[in-house]
Subunit: 202 residues, 2 copies
Amino acid sequence: MARRSNTDERRSQIVAALQAVMARAGYAGATIAAIARHAGLAPGLVHYHFKDKREILVALVDSLADYAHQRYASRAAAAQTAGQKLEAYITAHLAYGPDAQPDAVAAWVMIGEQSAHDPDVREVYQAALAAQMKLLKGLLRQRFAECGRRARRLDSFVAGVTCFIQGAFTLSTTARPLLPTAFAAPTLIAWVERYIEAEEER
Amino acid sequence: MARRSNTDERRSQIVAALQAVMARAGYAGATIAAIARHAGLAPGLVHYHFKDKREILVALVDSLADYAHQRYASRAAAAQTAGQKLEAYITAHLAYGPDAQPDAVAAWVMIGEQSAHDPDVREVYQAALAAQMKLLKGLLRQRFAECGRRARRLDSFVAGVTCFIQGAFTLSTTARPLLPTAFAAPTLIAWVERYIEAEEER
């Protein structure tokens, strides 16, 4: 494997620093100075690698999308059935574990908020979300078939699962004391299975 | 009925202006100057009624919680069964209609994000959310009984419904083009009903 270039390493370091600072202080609070301080770099070096803060944010969206996909892929590798693959998707997003990153979840929530009023951020945020929803749609279609059920209103179902996951991200960041411990993945899996089970046989 | 005082009217006007400006520009972008401009008031008058921007935000959380409760109460008034009351709760949060306020939804999303790193905002945000979850828990418990089902893991179920609703708020604000039209309320109602139906009889 080729050695990662110094530029790649510096850029990753800066992107990771934005994630950590944003998780605590929000996007508005993540100044270039604070990002540089967290990364242990001079502010000038941050400016050398990225035109502005928004460019770091765009790189962070890519890095978070990669991270979510890696978590899914490593769980899905051991899956034999469509049901196990679907469960891998849900637990990759919602389960706690040694590969969980609360900072990543908090940063994702703040990226969502930022994308509401920043078209550049919105574009990459929506593209990342669309890729996840496409993967989920394929997994759900396979699971309907495996259960011998007709897949109706699949787009609404995909959107519903995605709402649950995004809402769990938001509430675990903003209102953790109101949530039972580790409720999210088992609750969503039970919902999805019971919904499919109640569909017409094909 | 007593005539609303001029102070109350001015305060409502300022709170409504924060909601409108935040929905477009985020909390960080909602300056006192922009709020005053939107309300058609002098900035000094905003400062006369509120100590700072955060105090307006706290008043906005109360006003949004009242609005959500009014939407529920007006729908629930006509409900005969526990199922209809539960449906009233879900459609009050998720259905479009003449009483829908997309600005209110966007502002709520941004309040959530702000509450992640601002303890004063978090306190009122979590209190509003806790009151909604308490109401929902009572409605779900009644619906389980009406269906002759045992209500197990009720707190996880309440948290799940709340995640779905919050996620639908976030995605309708940040990623509307990825969502089917008006999918949210019917999808959540079907999920909830199928989940309850699959529980053990009591």
